[in-house]
Amino acid sequence: MKNFVKIGLGVVTGIGGFLDVGAIATTALAGAAFGFQLLWVVLLGTGCVILLTEMCGRLAAVSHHSLADAIRERLGFPYFSIPFVGEFLVDLLVLAAEIGGVAVALHLVTGVSYLWFVPLCALAVWGLLWLGTFTIIERGVSIAGLITLCFVVAACWMHPPWAEVARGVIPSLPSRDGVRYWFLAVSILGALISPYLLNFYATGAIEDKWTVKDIPVNRVIATGGMSFGSVIALAILVLAAVVLGPRGIQVDSYEQAVFILTRPFGRWGLYLFAASLGIACFGAALQVSLNLAYVTAQGFGWNWSENLKPHEDARFAAVYTAAVLVGAALLFVGDPLKLTTLSMALNAVIAPFIVFPLLVIMNDRAYLRDHRNHAIGNVLVAGVVLIAFVVAVVAIPLEVLGG
């Protein structure tokens, strides 16, 4: 019974925590621009994320070390400094995009410029980090994130051509705008295979005190939670393809994305879109700012835990405080949607430096003991590493040419 509750909560966390501003923006952009053609990229990204999060959860359950811990300890500080600096800078951009997403959600409903809401949203994020615990943050916000299931309901309501949707899961080459097609594909992969998600998942397993007995639970949560979350991203793409594409509307602002819910739901659609965007981004802002502090503390061996009071881990608390301040400040120099697409492309650039070490760590007896990867697992991880490297090399040129 206890395991069922754990699995249920974990899957719910996966659904509510999967979606963030990057996934919303990139899938809406993709659906409006290319119909159902990029559905296969969402499925590819989901498969990669399931594989990687399962491994990160297993690493944490067996060794009680997070991914950042293991990368530093196994590959040394000079190697660790590369993904650390890269992830730190990119996560600041992602954090800015997430705080911006919450502010934009409030702007959509009130009409007041989103910049007025930025300090309020940043204060709310910081306040929950300062006073809350990991359980409140992980479960509370993610359960609220279930509101994003409205996208799935709306997609069914709009009666898309399901045969065409099914054909979209098969990879295809673009018939036009090749650069933009591949730029969006890279951005979707960058949004789904977020480096911050991997370390946050592993650290969460340590915060929740997982042990070897939780390995089967980890498999169900990684697979179920991420799959259900991916269904929401797919629904957004389908909605954009059905509502925006035929009208020739590209998504250059969040105002244009709102239509995907107002067409099926009328006025309620505006409130549901704003609530979904706001809650998903708020949850992600908490995760990203916490992850910045986790990676720094774990990299340098400081005391850390969101379940401790700030007095007990002052350096950890100082990092997430500074991160929220910088993230909020960035919004006064950059547009939220443009910050989102830029940060998703940069996510793709740093991903291989974080994914590659898994090939080494998941086969290390000192960390995984009898729970090391089987041969198939290693082949799959090697495949993901190869995809990540190819995507990383093309991400920046595509951003320049197609972004």
């Binding site: 300890e73 500080f77 400094s81 300062w130 400081w302 007095h311 002052a314 608390a317």
Partner: protein, 127 residues
Amino acid sequence: MDDALPLVRDVLDKQIFDAHDEKLGKVDGIVLTLRANRPPRVAAIETDVKTAWGRVHPALPRWIERVQRWLHAEGIAPTRIPFEQVVRTGIDVQVDIDGKRTNAYVWETWLKQRFVDRIPGGNRGVR
């Protein structure tokens, strides 16, 4: 310890835990004593942000020192723990000292006093 100890694999970059199982930092460096006509001796393990970044590029510790001078925090020496006090190695390193008696928590204490304890909720909250 009579067997050979792979210093890089089992000591360098590992998490240090003190006698009370508190985190003390990572092993950022290993200090050797060079002796005339004899093999070097492992003298201590060292945890310090300048030591870690110095392994990436030799100019970086000088930049860190500039920042520390700006914060009026210069002169904080690396935390060195004599190797005799290392009791366990592996994926973690355990040392037989009380971490609070070292200078490993200087920054932690500075931040607590200057920042955390001055903000409401720093020592309270729903823990």
